[in-house]
Symmetry: C2
Subunit: 431 residues, 2 copies
């Protein structure tokens, strides 16, 4: 078969800062998916894109080509608006759990296709699987029925959504070509657009525990994704949020579910509640409910009701006891003062090393493992007071977790001013 383009030409074009035409990008993604462009060619191209960038039109073409590589879902016949949310990932980021039922309270449907964790950021499905009986795999028909009935579904994405993105992502992971805004943005947005949501709220994180530590880069990523959503006809808004400290007090799986249930019961840590409410307001506005009051729905039990129905619909028992770690180790404050730093990345890596996360796809996680914090940044602490409890089923994992926690908690002399860092640091909308 004669190919429409030559892979080397397209690599050289990107290497020389040239703009690729739409047909060239379509061909490249298609040829890569069917094996006519080799991995070593695609990785060289990805490196050229990483170093030389892509224009808005090229990123849109790449996103569309990845969507076209697989099936595209649609919730058009549902009779109510659908709004999805995506977080770029953080430490203690369990927000999807209270958020999806909270938004559904107001008649806005939330089809939340989620992933599993890799590395120091946890995965929503890993967390929910701490609930006895709960099942992540939901077919398209069942998903539609649950959206019509309960209004919210959190489940695993099928393999048929943007398969070209899956292949490209796996390649980028081993070739040092992950950290490219055009490639990250098109990867995330190809899956989200293929899911067929009518609107989308992005939680783009910055700070040590985030994928994108630098705020300016996170803003650029958010802007690129908002543009992509807008160009594809999906109304998209992004919140820029702080991930220099973990969200809430629980970092793990079962303990994050428990904390989410606290928020659904009207309590929970202030930052988890605040971010849940902020994201809910954005989703509700996009879903045509700008005047809805999500705080009330947390306080009066309506969000909890939807949560319980949502868990039961996927065979989970919301009342069953969840796994508890067999071993625990308490980290104590060494001096009196104020907690000045509580490094998100270190705490995320510690939870991962304790068994809450995985190093390789397919590994099992420990549902009871993780780090439970006993103080938040800005709190006054006393020498000897517990700062964190490490949870794991294997005592042998504790030393390497302690190693990474060395220096993660910084206690400053009492009276030291702790600068205020609000969770929601910015908002980016179309235009």
């Amino acid at each position: 078969m004669t190919e429409a383009f030559d892979a080397v030409d397209l690599i050289v074009a990107k290497r020389e800062h040239r703009v690729l035409e739409t047909a060239a990008i379509r061909w490249l993604v298609d040829a890569f998916t069917r094996g006519a462009v080799a991995d070593e060619q695609m990785s060289a191209w990805a490196m050229a894109v990483l170093l030389n960038g892509m224009e808005r039109r090229e990123i849109r073409d790449l996103t569309e080509a990845m969507i076209a590589s697989g099936e595209r879902m649609s919730f058009d016949g549902l009779g109510r608006p659908t709004v999805d949310k995506h977080s770029t990932g953080g430490v203690g980021d369990k927000i999807t759990l209270p958020l999806a039922p909270l938004v559904a309270v107001f008649g806005v449907a939330v089809p939340q296709l989620s992933g599993r964790g890799l590395g120091h950021t946890g995965g929503t499905l890993d967390k929910l699987e701490s609930i006895p009986g709960w099942r992540a795999d939901v077919g398209t028909a069942e998903m539609r029925a649950q959206l019509a009935d309960v209004g919210a579904v959190i489940c695993a994405a099928g393999a048929d959504l943007a398969p070209a993105d899956k292949r490209l992502y796996a390649l980028r992971d081993t070739t040092g070509t992950v950290e490219s805004i055009p490639l990250i943005a098109s990867s995330i947005m190809s899956k989200k657009i293929a899911e067929g949501t009518s609107a989308l709220v992005l939680d783009v994180k910055f700070g040590s525990g985030a994928f994108m530590t630098d705020r300016t880069r996170a803003e650029e990523l958010a802007r690129t994704m908002v543009d992509l959503g807008t160009d594809a006809g999906v109304e998209t808004v992004a919140l820029l949020t702080d991930m220099s400290v973990p969200l809430g007090l629980a970092v793990g799986n079962a303990i994050e579910v428990a904390e989410s249930v606290d928020v659904l019961a009207g309590g929970g840590p202030a930052d988890v509640r605040a971010l849940t409410v902020a994201l809910a307001r954005e989703m509700l506005a996009l879903g045509g409910q700008p005047d809805a009051d999500p705080e009330a729905a947390l306080d009066d039990g309506r969000a909890m009701d939807v949560w319980r129905r949502m868990i039961r619909a996927q065979d989970g028992d919301p009342d069953a006891p969840m796994a508890e770690a067999r071993e625990r180790h308490v980290v104590l404050a060494e001096s009196d003062g104020v907690l000045l730093e509580q490094d998100a990345k270190s705490i995320g890596v510690a939870a991962w090393r304790l068994g809450a996360g995985r190093a390789r796809q397919g590994e099992r996680v420990q549902h009871g493992a993780g780090v439970l914090l006993h103080a938040k940044r800005g709190d006054a602490v006393r020498a000897g007071q517990p700062l964190a409890t490490l949870l794991t089923d294997d005592e042998g994992r504790i030393p390497r977790a302690l190693e990474v926690l060395e220096g993660a908690h910084v206690v400053a002399p009492a009276g030291t001013a702790v600068p205020d860092r609000p969770v929601v640091a910015g908002r980016i909308a179309a235009g």
Copy 2:
């Protein structure tokens, strides 16, 4: 086995403009050679190097690592100095043929490991194989004996010289990562240093028919290679030469051998003789014969004597008739005037399309094919006068050769000044 380095770390380091330590570069080349670093990782790394560059020390380390991947020859016991020459490749570049015997006349040994052509630049071995019986494969012992006896050998490089370079070059060829000065320089110099020559003269070409069309880039390449040779203890000098027009009048295989024999007989085109003599003077100076007179050795038959012995030593018959093309087509001047341009690249591609070169490794070439020019840039021409004769065994190849020759010859009105472009445009030595 635990690896000393991680491929992704080294890719990211180069991506982020960091300098790689010696041990890291050694590991990378070794791990790539044994398959522990995958092709898609090496191509991403090569793209990062192409776009972000390497320091002199890194290029030296890369060169040494590629040399270390294979055998290293030595001519130490030969009892006379050895000087090698390398050309970056051009159109009508048959200089090695008269040059090697010419230098050997003065007792300086020339161990000339050569290659076959690919694309529009011909290969020395393809040209010499036009001579009936001549054989390119010469073992190390035979090579040494011929150097001691005749003083010059032109033969194929063994597969054991810098095998890592062979693998990397094949990968670069399909991944748009050829045009990087650090990678080109280390590729050429790893083979030349592994050959064990004590001194080296480089012919670095620029202009349309050269690999590096831009003069400034060619100078940078020359400087990089001179530095690499110097750092490795091989005295190295580079001439920067013009390749905007073909060298001589013959572009092909047998016709280039015939033109070389003309030069060895004291005649031949002025530019071929001039470049042969200039390179010979450099090689002789490095070989301890600064006062030798190469012009005299061309004029009095001494160079021809060595040529005949060199060809016979490799079973060739210097007096046997060579292949002649079955078909010929003459291109005529369309107007009176002066020949202002005679584009080297177009003429090289035409010769290739006529069958003198190959598109893929392993293809056979036609020994009789090529382009024979009847005028040189700057000559006065008359309408209807032959400008070039196309030679091929397949008449069907002529139209595509004519297509690329469209516009290659530019005839300007009589009296138009043709700027003087000397063949040797510059010289670069150590320091």
